[in-house]
């Protein structure tokens, strides 16, 4: 476990934390969604760095022979296909959540007039007091 062998993971972790920080620290809803998409892309990067084999090429067979009797050359080192498959799903989940989040932001802007977290909470509290009385 040294810097030379594990620095990929540490950089990816730093990226994840940047994304997470944006989601929690920023008050603007659109900015939170940007932070969320950064957080999800960096998780995808974690999976991809796991799947890489040193010197391995993309998991698409290098074919030998012509036409029909072409056979994949199996002693070429391929990187692991499974993380790539899982990450196709994660990218799609990320874009789906983002689209839904942005639709909610539009409705919040139309009904509250703002997309700032603290202003929304303050308006809710004001509405609550008016209902109480």
């Amino acid at each position: 476990m040294t810097l030379a062998t594990h620095w990929h993971y540490w950089v990816v972790i730093a990226l994840m934390m940047t994304g997470l920080h944006i989601v929690i620290a920023r008050r603007n809803y659109v900015k939170k969604l940007m932070g969320l998409s950064i957080f999800q892309v960096s998780v995808i990067m974690l999976y991809v760095t796991m799947g890489k084999v040193a010197g391995g090429t993309a998991p698409v067979y290098v074919m030998e022979g012509e036409g029909h009797d072409a056979v994949p050359n199996l002693d070429v080192v391929y990187s692991n296909p499974v993380p790539h498959v899982l990450m196709l799903t994660a990218i799609v989940v990320g874009i789906a959540t983002m689209a839904l989040g942005l639709a909610l932001v539009v409705r919040i802007k139309e009904s509250y007039g703002t997309v700032e977290d603290d202003v929304v909470i303050e308006k809710d509290r004001a509405e609550e007091e008016s209902l109480e009385s």
């Binding site: 998780v43 796991m50 909610l104 932001v105």
Partner: protein, 512 residues
């Protein structure tokens, strides 16, 4: 029909999942609602069929999706515990659809009701898929299906607070989902496989090799899975989103979510601790149960119930009481014994039925009185006697008075506590039930002992009361004749604790 019986595990998820796009094609509201109800009922029948099938065999049913044997392809595993959860979830979903009549017509814009029912069925399919899948990553995919449809269903509340509540739920839910994804990734990196049984077996090997020195990556994977699921389950410190989401959603959606969403995620938490990482390691070496889960659940029980006392509206009160009840569930798990898991399963069933029934009653109240603010409910006993009586029945179930399902699960919880010598915890459970009495009595007092407003006219929507009465009737029935279900929960808990056998060796080449 017997041919189809073998395919029940996958049909359970495929029937609602494929009905949803059909609904998106059909524009008329009545046809869409009828088709949705039909598919939900079919799913419930399949669910109960799975319970019977799971009871007949000792080891869980296994269904190879895509024709590939387990570690290669994805596998559906129907154990007695998952069959029990699936049956409850699908039945509550079917009843929830019965409820959504007049109310959804007012909530959802005129031409979009077929999409509302499609989102409802997608959420059901996501929850069921998550409960019976035997593949780690498949859990994440179906978790996302149910979460996404839940966000849009909560936002159907159509008040501006529903949008901000749905948005907060989306942000916290997605962070939770991504934590689970990180956990699954680290787990995959250490074990090299995604099949649940394979993972459990390899984790067992890793732990036997070095019982005292914990593999750090495995430990971090466990922490991330637990925090992610805790966020989705609204365990005490991570529960901010739940009151807003349940209170602002339309009552039919709250009824469905309260009865099913947290329950399936609790079952996944149960499987993660007991099956994935092995109960001996998690509760023994890590002392996760006693040092982490128990204090959190006790805090959750008390804070949830106490907060419920001060809520202005019925829905918010029931939402906070849900946070409290989740505390009971996690407390049952924290004992780390078979009895504890059995109590957890029983409480899962009892709370699902009772809370869904209560939300159906609230739907009837909102339809009748127009608002669920507690000040507006004075004299409800006289205005809507059946509804008031049903609410009392549900409240009593929440407290755990003998003769209702709440009592059976609380009794099992106390027995589990005594079995593992946590006498103080047993006392605290009784104490928190008293707190529950306070917030139920507060409503009863408003409904029965205050004069009804003279001018108020109330419209009766007795169609909304049918699911409420069925659910609360089931709660009482389960309370009076509990032995059938208690025995099912005991066998299910026992099956979960079995040692994970290694999978049959992979066929070399050739289609398995």
């Amino acid at each position: 029909m017997s041919g189809l019986k073998a395919h029940f595990p996958v049909l359970l998820v495929v029937v609602p999942l494929l009905t949803a796009p059909l609904l998106a094609l059909i524009r008329q509201k009545q046809v869409a609602r009828a088709l949705a109800l039909l598919s939900a009922l079919a799913t419930a029948v399949i669910g109960w069929g799975l319970v019977i099938a799971a009871r007949e065999q000792v080891e869980p049913l296994s269904y190879h999706l895509g024709g590939w044997p387990p570690p290669i392809g994805i596998e559906y595993v129907v154990s007695q515990a998952s069959a029990f959860v699936v049956a409850i979830v699908s039945s509550i979903a079917a009843l929830g659809l019965l409820l959504g009549t007049r109310e959804t017509r007012k909530e959802v814009t005129e031409g979009q009701q077929h999409l509302y029912y499609a989102a409802y069925l997608l959420c059901l399919a996501g929850l069921l898929g998550m409960a019976i899948t035997g593949d780690a990553f498949n859990v994440f995919v179906f978790l996302e299906i149910s979460s996404l449809s839940t966000y849009s269903l909560v936002a159907m509340g159509n008040r501006r607070r529903a949008f901000s509540a749905a948005f907060n739920y989306l942000i916290l839910g997605t962070i939770g989902g991504t934590f689970v994804l990180i956990g699954i990734g680290l787990l995959y990196q250490v074990t090299g496989t995604l099949n649940v049984q394979d993972i459990a077996h390899r984790v067992q090997e890793l732990e036997d090799v070095a019982p005292d020195s914990h593999n750090l990556t495995l430990l971090v994977a466990f922490v991330f899975m637990i925090v992610g699921l805790g966020l989705k389950l609204a365990v005490f410190p991570l529960h901010q989103w739940l009151p807003g989401a349940y209170a602002e959603a339309p009552a039919a959606v709250s009824a469905f979510l309260a009865g099913t969403a947290t329950k399936v995620i609790y079952f996944q938490l149960l499987r993660t601790t007991v099956v994935f990482f092995g109960a001996a390691h998690v509760f023994g070496a890590l002392r996760f149960g006693t040092h982490v889960l128990m204090p959190l659940s006790i805090a959750g029980m008390f804070i949830g119930s106490i907060a419920a006392i001060y809520q202005p509206t019925l829905k918010r009160m029931l939402a906070y009481s849900s946070v409290g009840q989740v505390g009971y569930l996690t407390l049952a798990l924290s004992f780390g014994t078979e009895a504890g898991v059995q109590a957890g399963l029983l409480h899962l069933g009892a709370h699902a039925v009772t809370k869904a029934g209560l939300f159906c009653v609230v739907a009837a109240i909102v339809a009748g009185v127009g608002s669920n603010r507690i000040q507006r409910l004075n004299g409800l006993g006289k205005r809507m006697p059946i509804v008031a009586f049903a609410f009392v029945l549900g409240g009593v179930g929440l407290i755990g008075v003998p003769g209702t399902s709440g009592f059976v699960s609380k009794w099992a919880l106390l027995q589990a506590a005594f079995a593992s010598e946590h006498y103080l915890v047993a006392g605290l459970v009784l104490l928190s039930s008293l707190v529950a009495v306070v917030y139920v009595w507060r409503i009863v007092e408003v409904m029965y002992f205050q004069a009804p407003p003279v001018d108020e006219k109330t419209t009766h929507d007795n169609l909304a009361m049918v699911p409420a009465l069925i659910l609360l009737g089931a709660s009482v029935l389960f309370g009076l004749f509990p032995d059938q279900v208690v025995e099912l929960a005991a066998d299910a808990a026992h099956q979960l604790f079995l040692e994970p056998g290694s999978l049959p060796p992979l066929p070399t080449g050739g289609h398995g």
